[in-house]
Symmetry: C2
Subunit: 116 residues, 2 copies
């Protein structure tokens, strides 16, 4: 496998990066929901922690029945077993990243994993 | 641990999310380099794959001696052992996310890890 891969992402409703970048430690998707739209199902995970970043717009997530308001600049960690569903605001679209990683998989990081 | 955590990020030169979000499968930093600036060292990793996303602006990465041009919308995977250094463009700042995950740690994802 090459020591790096790059892709340039244009505006699309959903892009999945795992195969495009040959990722081995994460799946990452870039998602856009139009105003008033939602992901059409509630889901949870077996092993994966999800981390969401809101890039543009606004909306909300319902997590185990609790509504969390979301706007650009917000980051959210959700534990595997939590039941979640994402909604755009009624008035504006929401663009967000979803990062899936195996919960508990990270060992060292930054100064404990880096070689400078 | 709570089933979710949220933080709202303002404009800062560097934000690290591991402790703010109680992440267990990744470290994520949000970084901004002013025009003409660079990360002041070359580094590689012991176990972590890094994934970079350029949010705003432009710049470049030098990876094992190869220069890769970067602009908003670009995503980059870098293998642990590759030697890397990041630069803002001479004319514009660059804002980017860096996601560290343990290489090879992801098992299932999306439909093979989700419970719908």
């Amino acid at each position: 496998m090459k020591n790096f891969e790059k892709v340039s992402i244009a505006n699309e409703a959903r892009v999945e990066l795992h195969d495009k970048l040959n990722l081995t430690g994460a799946e990452i998707s870039i998602n856009e929901l139009p105003a008033g739209a939602s992901v059409p199902f509630v889901h949870s995970h077996k092993k994966n922690e999800e981390i969401y970043a809101v890039l543009e717009g606004a909306g909300s997530a319902v997590i185990d029945g609790e509504t969390v308001q979301l706007k650009a600049g917000d980051w959210l960690r959700i534990a595997p077993a939590a039941k979640r569903q994402f909604f755009a605001s009624e008035k504006t679209a929401i663009k967000y990243i979803c990062i899936q990683v195996k919960a508990g998989s990270l060992e060292g990081y930054t100064m404990t994993d880096a070689i400078v």
